[in-house]
Amino acid sequence: MKTIILLSHGELAKGMADTAQMIMGKQKNLYAISAYTEENVNFPAMVKKLIQSSPGETVLVTDLMGGSVNNQMIELAAQTGAHLISGMNLTLVLSLLNDDPSLSTSQWIELALSDAKNGIVYCSRLSQPVQDDDF
């Protein structure tokens, strides 16, 4: 089972984990670290510990490409072999929570990324599809 760790400035990660579990039910392998808040002064150390005690591979998901949270994780990911993804959104997290052991971790991540990007839609501008599906 893969370990998934959400990381953000402030509370985004915790909120994301809360919402994801409202939809998917409680997830044992999902962790959330809200960095730069009172309790999480040395979050890289916390993350390293989680990676080391993970039964399977670890996927780190950060809030922002170029942000300090992501930057601090780059070296840790390289050292430990954890997979690092920036730009978390709910679709990405939900897709990651649906593990697929038949795929390699990178393939599975690529699919999740594709879902995540396709989930960002300017709904008001969608035109009506011509035909509904039928059996």
Binding site: I23, N118, V121, D132, F135
Partner: protein
């Protein structure tokens, strides 16, 4: 084959799209609802939620029963969504091959009583559930696939 019949007043939404669809491995979702079947606005909103891996078919409850009984749905791993307990009863009475119904989300309204987590039923709906139970349909209250779940006795 029918993989899941779920009562959910929100029909196709996050929990169903991400948790249930994957859990049962569905490749086709059938929304059996008289109102939706002829309401373009509701259909548009629901189409947005369609998971990429699934067909999404809208039918009235009667048309759904007909389609299922005709065998055209056999080749799909089908997830059926109904809006209400009453519709679930109509579906099951029309298709005796359905042996389990997942509850699901049933809205709290005036005159309803909470019969399980997120499941509120009017006296008529409690009758409907009793009838389903007596005909041998297993009723399970479960929000997410990995929740513990609770079988509803009669």
């Amino acid at each position: 084959m029918i993989k899941l019949v779920r009562v959910d007043y929100r029909l196709l939404h996050g929990q169903v799209v991400f948790a249930w669809t994957n859990f049962v491995g569905a490749d086709c979702i059938l929304i059996a609802c008289d109102e939706v079947a002829q309401n373009e606005n509701r259909k548009s909103a629901l189409r947005l939620a369609r998971p990429a891996s699934c067909k999404l078919v809208f039918k009235s409850v009667a048309q759904a029963v007909q389609a299922i009984n005709s065998g055209v749905t056999d080749k799909y791993k089908l997830l059926i969504l109904v809006e209400t307990i009453g519709d679930a009863r109509k579906l099951c009475e029309g298709c005796p091959s359905i042996r389990t119904v997942n509850l699901g989300l049933s809205k709290q309204r005036e005159g309803t009583r909470e019969i399980g987590k997120a499941v509120y039923a009017t006296p008529q709906e409690e009758e409907d559930l009793k009838a389903l139970s007596q005909s041998g349909v297993v009723l399970e209250i479960k929000q997410a696939p990995n929740d513990k779940g609770e079988k509803l006795g009669d």
